[in-house]
Amino acid sequence: MKINFNIEVNNQSVEAIKGETILDALNRNGIKVPTLCHMKDFTPTGACRMCVVEDEITGKLITSCSFPVAEGMKIKTHSPKVVEARKTIVELLLSNHPDDCLYCVRNRNCELQNLSDELQVRERRIIGKKNNYNIDNSGVSIIRDPDKCILCGRCVEVCEKVMGVSAIDYVNRGSQTIIGTAFNKGLNVSSCVNCGQCIMVCPTGALTEKNHFPEIREALNDPAKTVVIQYAPAISVSLAEEFGIESGKDINGIMNSALRKIGFNRVFDTSFAADLTIMEESAELINRITNNGVLPMMTSCCPAWVKYAEEFVPEFLPNISSCKSPQQMMGSVIKNYFAKTENLKAEDIYSVSIMPCTAKKFEAQREEMTTHGISDVDAVLTTRELGQFIKLYGIDISKIEPEVADSPLGTRSTAGKIFGASGGVMEAAIRTAYYKLTGKELVKFQIPEVRGFEERKETKIKIGELEIGVAVVNGLVNAKKLLTEIKEGRTDIHFIEIMACPGGCIGGGGQHIGSNEDDLKSRMKSLYDIDTNETLKVSHKNPEIIEIYDKFLGEPLGHKSHELLHTNYDKRDVLR
C-alpha cells in the first residue's frame, strides 16, 4: 500500500509517496528540476549534481534524483543557492566544451544548450582547457566525439542495462576520464551492436549517427541513376515528431509526397517487404516444426540482435531465421525484380532506405547483404535524418497533399505495418502460419498477449492440432535472460521474436531524440489503430505479394527466394 504524506516545497505543501525520490514527487506536482545524468527507471547515479535542491533544515544541497522523500522534509527547489549551484555546474561543463554549437547536429536539440539557456548563462565565466580527443569515426553507424561528452554516463547505463552489451565504459580517472571502449579501440572492433540507444540518451552531440547525405544527394543529381527509396513500418508514425506535430500521427501520405518532391524516382513501402518476410519466415517456421528443424526459431529482422548473437551467443545462430530483414529483402527485390520489370541494370539503381534504426546502416553494408557483388541497399537514413532531409529540400509538409506509395512494392497488409512494434513480427507470422497450416483464417487476428511494452511476453498459440509456445522480447538484456533459460533446458518455446530496442522499432535508435514514454505509446497505438481500421490484415492476401510469387519468386523457400531473400551468419570475433 502506498503511504502518502506531505512535504514542504517552496513553502507549499506537496504530497509525496513513501519510497519515491524527491525528484519524482516534484515532477508529479508540476515542479521541474533540471537533470542530466538522470534516466527514468534506472538506478540514480547522482553524478551530474544538476538536480540539487536545498534542504531547508540543514541548509545543505541534496541531489533530488537519488534522495528519498521523508516526512517533515522542507525543500527549496529554486533558492538563490540552488540556482547558483546549477548554473556553476553548467558553466563548468561548458568550460572545456567545444564552442561549435552552430555546427553541431544537436544544435537546438541539446540538453546542455537548453540548460545553459534556462539558467541564463550569458558569458564565459570559467575558462578551461578545451578537450582535444580524437573522434571515433571507425563505426559504420555511430560516431563518437569525446570532446562533446559531459560524462553523464547515460550511454554507459543503456549499453549495459538495456542491451547487455557494455561496449563502452568510463576510462581513466578524474579530469582525464572519458567514455571509451576497451583499450580505446574503435567502435568497429568493439562489441557495439549499433543499436543507437546511446545516441537516444546522449544529452549532447557526443554520440551521433553516420550521415550519408552527400552520397544520396549525388545520386539524386545523377541523371543516369534511378533513385528509389523505401521506408520502414515505424517511420510514418514517428516522423511527425521531427516537425513538432503531435506524436503518433500517421503521415504516410505526406511522407510519400515529400519524398517524390525531393526527387526520388520511386517510393516503396518496406512494409511490403515485411509481408514478404512473413511469407518466407512463416514457411520456414512450419518447415522447422514439421521436419524437426532447429527450434526455437528466432527472428532475424533486427540487425542489432543479429550482431549480438554473432558476438555473444553464436551457439544460437542456427536458431536465427535465414530470412533477410525486410530492409534487405526490399533492397534485393528492388535490384532484381523491380530492375527487371523496368529494364534497368542493378548498378544503375541507387537504393535508399529510411529506418528508425542506426544498426540498419551497419546491416546495409554487410557482405551477406549483397547479390552478385552489388549491395542490396546503398544508403540508410534514420527518421531524424529524413526530417533534416525534407527540411534541406525546402519542403513544407503542412502544405502538401498526401499521395500513395508506388506499385508494385508499395501495397502492404497491416500485418507488415505492425512490424514496427514489439510483438508485431510474431503476430503477423502467426496470422500467416495459421492459414498455411489449417487452410483457414484466424477468427480473431489480434493477439493482445504479444502486444505492449513489457520486456518479455510469452503465450501459447493453438494452430489446429498444434500448440506452439511463442515469446517476444525487447531489450537485448532480456533476450539474454530468455536465451539462458533455453540453454538451461526450456523446450516449451518454438518461436521467439527479438528486438533490441525498447518497444521494438518504434523505440529505435534512429528515432526522434527527446521523445518520452508517452510518445512511444502513441506511436504503438497508431500502428495498432491502422491494423484495426484497415481490412487487409494478413500478408498472404496482399495482392502484390501474390503477384511477386506468381511472376518472379515461385514459392516461399523456393530456389529464387533462397538466392535473393535468405542468408546466414557466422560467429564474429570482437573485443568483448
Binding site: V171, R173, G180, A182
Partner: protein
Amino acid sequence: MEDKTINILEQYPNSGNDSLIPILQEVQDAEGYISEKSVIKIGKHLDIPSSKIFGVATFYNQFRFQPLGKYHIQICRGTACHVLGSATVLSTLEKHLKLKAGETSRDGLFSIEVVACIGACGLAPVICVNGKFHAKVTDKSIIEIIENYRKENDESEK
C-alpha cells in the same frame, strides 16, 4: 608456452567481480603489464565485459597496458621531489623519449612510470631505473642518464 594468465585464473574458481583487482595485480606481476589478450581471458573467466575491466584498470595508476621497457624508469612525483623540480624532470624525460608516463618506447628499450614516493626524499628529485637509484636528478642530468643506458644497451648488443 604456458599461459600465465590462465594459471592465475585457475587460482580463482567461481569468482566474481570482487576478484578483479587481485587478478589484475597478479597478471601484471607475472607478465609485466595487462595485455589485451589477458583482459579477454579475465573477462571470460569472471563474466565481465572487457570495456569494464579496462575501465577499472585505467582508474588505477598501478596498471600498465604496454610491456615494460628493457630499462624501466620510475620517476618519483612525491612532495619532496615535486618541490625540487621533478615536474620539469618528467616533462624533459617525456619529451626526450617522445613517450608519456605509462608508455613504452617502440623499440621496447624504455618505459616510464610515475610513482608517488619511493621513500628516498633525501635524494630528491629521484628516479629509479631497473631498481638502481639516481639521486638529485636535473633536467640536464636526466638526458645523460638515459643516453648512458642507451649506450650500455648498444654495446651489449654488439
